[in-house]
Symmetry: C2
Subunit: 200 residues, 2 copies
DNA sequence: TGACATCACATACTAACGGTACGTAAGTTG
DNA sequence: CAACTTACGTACCGTTAGTATGTGATGTCA
């Protein structure tokens, strides 16, 4: 037993490489991390990295995707069990901000991702995960009559931009967890911009 | 006449270096630009660049500062002559979005700046220029009773984040100038979030 | 006004890093 | 078991950020 098939090896190796990439990129930032450093942290050599990934940007892409999928999962969990769509959106926003307490999330998802992969690609990836949840939530809230109709695409992006900025804002506070409450409050107030008069 | 003093030479050389940096960084992005490339575009050698600037990041810092000062100037001009503070904020937001039609502004101020200089430093620079205008405008609108009071620091950042995201959003439209109208409309709606019930 | 100091660069070089070429052992398939 | 593929390791190349040093023009002072 315990036969190490090639697929097993490949999968575990790529997994460790991605883990190392997330750790190093998340801690030191993309430009300060060398591929040799990632390889060393993963216990392999640069050759192994280049066998599994096309290059340094592909490495960041994998790290970004991993973090983004995880964030989408957290958003889903936070929104589950909400009484209505607007409450789900509020819970999702709170979870979004909470995820930004992780420095690696800020570094990879908010800073290096857009700069290295480009804004366009980053938003396309997010549009399939966390941002899709946000957008669907806003749409459902409109359907429920809790939010005023409007251009949902633009509105989602405005909210996303505010959330990303708020997430970075948390980091520079001495006590980010305490700041989380104040920021969440203002974000809730912002959501009221699109609420129907009766819905407040 | 036309005595070229050393201070003159120094000033004009640094000016051309910064101009070249803005052009190249703005077109190709920070990582794809070499210092030799900037030096060549400025008509000097790498030695001259390193004589005037501490390194590549200092070069981006100078480009960032230049663009940011220019943006602050545009915001001031746009807001001048507004009947009240809230109108001034709306005009400033529109001008902010308009400035994002320039690819170099997006690349340097929105993408490379935060990634290379760090979010903290970027926001500190902006806090002395365009963001100061935004914040003072919001404060004045609160004083005039047009906006609900609240945490002005957080609120300014939420608005800034939404504006930056909206600015990037403009770029991927086939006709950015047309999209500008739709985005500006939604941003105005967002400002209503903080407007007093009577102020709408 | 001539000697000397300083400034504004140019040139030559080093070290590090992204990426490629190639070799090899382990695994897979007919 | 032979032919082939996969999963790496090793050695190398080109580029680039940064440094060390040289040089000529400019400013200063006796």
């Amino acid at each position: 037993m315990a036969r190490r098939t090639q697929a097993d090896r490949s999968e575990s190796t790529t997994g460790e490489i991605v883990d190392a990439a997330i750790t190093l990129f998340g801690r030191d930032g993309y430009p300060a991390v060398s591929i040799d450093g990632i390889a060393r942290a993963a216990g392999v050599t640069k050759g192994a990295v280049y066998h599994h990934f096309d290059g340094k940007t592909a490495l960041l892409r994998a790290a970004f995707l991993h973090q983004e999928q995880r964030r989408a999962l957290l958003l889903r969990e936070a929104a589950a069990g909400s009484p209505d769509a607007l409450a789900a959106v509020r819970a999702g926003c709170a979870a979004f901000l909470h995820s930004c307490l992780d420095p690696a999330v800020r570094q990879i998802l908010l800073l290096d991702g857009p700069a290295v992969l480009g804004w366009q690609e980053v938003r396309e990836i997010e549009a399939e995960h966390s941002v899709a949840l946000l957008r669907r939530g806003l749409g459902a809230a409109v359907d429920e009559g809790r939010l005023r109709p409007g251009d949902l695409g633009i509105r989602t992006h405005l909210l996303l931009g505010a959330l990303c900025e708020a997430g970075m804002l948390l980091a520079r506070h001495a006590d980010p967890t305490a700041a989380l409450a104040a920021v969440t409050r203002e974000v809730d107030a912002l959501l009221d911009a699109f609420a129907t008069p009766t819905g407040a």
